[in-house]
Amino acid sequence: MKLKEYEAKTILEKAGIRIPRGLCIKKGSSQDFQLSPDIPRMVVKAQVEVAGRGKAGGILMADANNLKESVNSLFQANIKGIPVQEILIEERLEILHEYYLSITIDRKNKAPVILFTSEGGVEIEEVAKRKPDAIRTASVYPLLSTVPGFTLRYLLNGAPKEISGVIQALYNVFIEKDALLAEINPLVMTPDGLYAADAKLILDDNALFRQGIEENRDLSEHEREACAHGFSLVELDGNIGVIGNGAGLTMATVDLITRMGGKPADFLDVGGGADRNRVAKAVRLLGAMPDISVILVNLLGGITRCDEVAIGIIEAGVPQQIIVRLAGTNEAEGKELLSSRGYQMLDTMEEAVSAAVEVAS
């Protein structure tokens, strides 16, 4: 789950990283906000999760004279299609130098990896293209509780030593918050020392239970409902509803639909060992989506009972045509149940996909 900038910054501040003074206001709340009078120049930042927020008009410069106008105009704006609901107003820092610092997961080394460069303030992929040698990366062995000194020295590559403290503090946040990404860009050197001018935190959805977060905000309403039933759902924009079991098979089904010229409406993985209730819920979930004209059920499992699946499909009773490919335990009983009620049953994945694409076109 992605945290908003102000949420991430609050966490960084608690970990000992300095952040600019500021406050967050919500749309529709009182406009009588008060910043400290000794802040002459501000930055007004839309709290939206888009790449290139500044270029897209999501960040405005302001002073005491035009602060309210800036806030009002930003609340009217859409940043890359996303309406602005929250705004962070911060003091504008006096920037001497900008650095980039992030920590993410390195699949290959199976460990956290720290990225640092003195070429901060721009998007990191720009630096990667223009000056790849300027980015230093170092994995930290997962059983160490602190970042070793030699790793810090390697990362800094001559940059000011006090950045070590920020790296260690961000590393602590990364571990304690079960983060997949912790990023400070830019990390700013001012006459007064180092500040995190912008921050990003993405938490591991599988660890929200121990982070005191009950609900994953990143999910749409349908996706949340799917999640509550133990499904995994991603909404796409086509008209063929897809239900599969297992992410790989479901994904391969979506791929094959596209390859055969159809347009998948979703990716819905019902998970292993689905019984009639789960199948019925999955079918109803898709049945309620107005753009779906045909539903393709592609289930393969040693432990999924096909008769249960068949009963689930029948009980769901949705208006759309359903094309079914089933393989597994009690396959014959399942097929008998469905074909006796007029459902189209096909033996292979390719035949089933082909039939669905034809119906939908």
Binding site: S102, K108, K110, L115, L181, V234, D255
Partner: protein
């Protein structure tokens, strides 16, 4: 076959749960058919002294190995405690831990895999269907009736996709030496490279099918140094790009994720990549 054979004694972690007890029975049924040792004990903290399907349950792995000859664990423990179970199995001296559990926090996986490595315990998974070596041993949740004995190795990040391909191979008369589900999580124990190396040293295996997905670049890493013929399939060519790991992740691996880019890189290495699952048996016949 690789990682385990019919003489491997298996302990089930989370043996008293629904999944654990159900699959334990299936594994023992298979062991009986092939004359293997099968599951010798189960572990669930606080439930030691019971029996499930005739298998004795212990409070800890160390209690279980004191009483039984076992070298491998298959773990069904829920996500919040699964990392701990892997470390405990490694600590008790087991040299293989197959982790079926999904939704384990990735930080737990990193720590558990590291710790197991220090203890000389290899980890397969998490979030995987386990190992099936037809005619030898079933250490997981794969539908055994779809598989057949032969000399093609299968390595996969996904469960049901594996069954689909194994089904296609068997129907085309191509048997399998070992089918290894390495798991779909960002961080896993044994990677494509590790498993391919094991297949290379396996006298039974003559070619390998790798079933990959979008995300990471471990398929290419594994296929690059393979001494055996490799055939690949990559799922997720039409999936919307997953931006969750952000650009930092892409910079670490040099262009992470996209399935089409992955396919292009594999083809550049001379690895045949099937566009459809149904093409895999024909390509295997060609390379053998």
């Amino acid at each position: 076959m690789i990682y385990a054979d019919r003489n491997t004694g298996v302990i089930i972690g989370g043996a008293t749960g629904n999944q654990g007890s159900f699959h334990m029975a299936r594994m023992n049924q298979y062991a009986q058919q092939v004359g293997g040792k099968g599951v010798v004990a189960g572990v669930t903290p606080g439930k030691g002294g019971r029996e499930v399907n005739g298998v004795p349950i212990y409070d800890s792995y160390s209690d279980a190995v004191r009483e039984h000859d076992a070298s491998a664990a298959v773990i069904f423990v829920p996500g919040s405690a699964a990392g701990d179970s892997v470390m405990e199995a490694a600590d008790a001296g087991l040299d293989l831990a197959v982790v079926i559990t999904e939704h384990i926090p990735v930080h737990d996986v990193m720590r558990a895999v590291s710790y197991a490595g220090i203890r000389g315990c290899r980890v397969i998974g998490p979030n995987c269907p386990g190992i099936l070596s037809p005619g030898e041993i079933n250490m997981g949740i794969m539908p055994v009736h779809l598989a057949s004995q032969g000399n093609v190795g299968v390595i996969s990040r996904s469960g049901t996709l594996t069954y689909e391909v194994v089904h296609e191979l068997t129907r085309s008369g191509i048997g399998q030496s070992s089918i290894i589900g390495i798991g779909g999580d960002p961080v896993i124990g044994q990677t494509f490279a590790d498993v391919i190396e094991n297949f290379t040293n396996d006298p039974l295996t003559r070619a390998v099918v790798i079933l990959g997905e979008l995300g990471g670049n471990l398929e290419e890493e594994g296929a690059r140094d393979a001494d055996l013929p490799v055939v690949a399939f990559i799922a997720g060519t039409t999936a919307p790009p997953d931006k969750r790991m952000g650009h930092a992740g892409a910079i670490v691996t040099g262009g992470e994720g996209d399935a089409n880019a992955k396919i292009a890189r594999l083809r550049d290495m001379g690895i045949p990549v099937a566009d459809r699952l149904s093409e895999i048996p024909a390509i295997i016949k060609r390379v053998l």
